[in-house]
């Protein structure tokens, strides 16, 4: 079922219409939140909040936008807010440096997707949030500069520079060490 049909069903009050949205997008939204927040529980909370906000706002959704960029925008903003709240509430905040693995896994091990995912997610905690959001949307979600600009509500020039700076930082952390 395509997104236009799902939204039409939702606006006509079909009880299950939102289920279709959750089932269709849960993996992508959860994955995005996981790469943004690193922690599985935080990612679940943020992804759940994202869908609740989306359900509240969907009646006002305009069909000129695409549903997935709209959902991604809610998810990115939820993650940005989530981190802000979490940082405020964590009085015992230990430095991010302590969270880095003390040694990088061996190259053979590294080339297992789960290991790589963890190493990448950990390294990304060093990036400012807006850079992190841009690089996740580009490299993990595979979106174009235009789509990322729409999601983050910035120009494509800003997207280019955020992605470039993210790569520069991550290259120093992840590639130079190998």
């Amino acid at each position: 079922m395509d997104d236009i049909e799902i939204i039409r069903n939702f606006k006509h009050g079909e009880a299950d219409a939102f289920n279709d949205i959750v089932l269709k997008y849960q993996d992508r939204i959860f994955n995005l939140c996981l790469y943004m927040l690193r922690d599985t529980h935080d990612a679940q909370d943020a992804a759940q909040d994202c869908f609740i906000k989306a359900c509240r706002a969907l009646h006002d959704f305009s069909p000129d936008a695409s549903l997935y960029t709209w959902l991604y925008r809610i998810a990115v903003n939820t993650c940005l807010d989530y981190r802000r709240k979490r940082i405020q509430s964590r009085m015992d905040s230990h430095s991010m440096a302590e969270d880095m693995p003390s040694h990088m896994p061996s190259p053979e091990k590294l080339y297992e997707s789960r290991e790589i995912s963890e190493v990448v997610r950990t390294a990304m905690q060093k990036l400012p949030e807006k850079l992190r959001a841009a690089i996740v949307l580009r490299e993990i979600e595979g979106l174009s500069y235009e789509e990322i600009a729409e999601i983050m509500d910035v120009s494509t020039g800003t997207v280019k520079s955020r992605i470039s700076r993210s790569r520069e930082e991550l290259r120093k952390i992840l590639v130079r060490k190998l």
């Binding site: 849960q26 529980h41 759940q48 609740i52 997707s113 790589i116 991550l170």
Partner: protein, 155 residues
């Protein structure tokens, strides 16, 4: 093209976002300059890591929890429409409401007491996390509940 300029274009080159003119100039510089070539190779290596990194699916039971959360979010506005809902779903809602009341009780206590909060917010969240459903095997009561509500985690 100077190194400074070439390095700024590496990221866009990888994303194929350079114009054909820029691509020619950039490629010519890369041919000639070993330092920029190394930086390009390292940046490509980073992209290969991203490509190889795991795409993680939402955990088991996630959609069920989301839909329960949405129901709880709607409840105050249209309470009447919920009277004839199945008993188990009602029971789950009551359990969820109890959790909210308990969280409210503890957070209220933290507001009125001078002594340090007994639990950090992170500890509290893990204590009340709805993940109790997560590892439920399909033949357990929780599994039956998930089955009855008709929500599948898989597409």
């Amino acid at each position: 093209m100077r190194c400074r300029h070439a390095r700024k274009l590496i990221s866009q080159y990888i994303d194929k976002e350079l114009s054909s003119g820029e691509t020619k100039l950039f490629s010519a510089h890369i041919e000639a300059c070993a330092a920029c070539r190394l930086e390009l190779e390292e940046t490509k290596e980073l992209s290969r890591m991203f490509a190889a990194a795991e795409r993680v699916s939402a955990p088991y039971g996630f959609a069920t929890r989301v839909l329960a959360g949405i129901e709880a979010d709607k409840r105050p506005q249209n309470r009447l429409s919920h009277i004839f809902r199945p008993v188990l779903v009602r029971a789950a809602e009551v359990a969820f409401a109890c959790v909210i009341v308990v969280i409210g009780f503890f957070s209220g206590r933290m507001l009125i007491t001078d002594s340090p909060a007994p639990l950090s917010a992170a500890e509290m969240r893990s204590t009340f996390h709805l993940d109790v459903f997560e590892s439920a095997p399909p033949d357990s009561i929780a599994g039956a509940y998930i089955g009855m509500t008709g929500v599948q985690n898989e597409k």
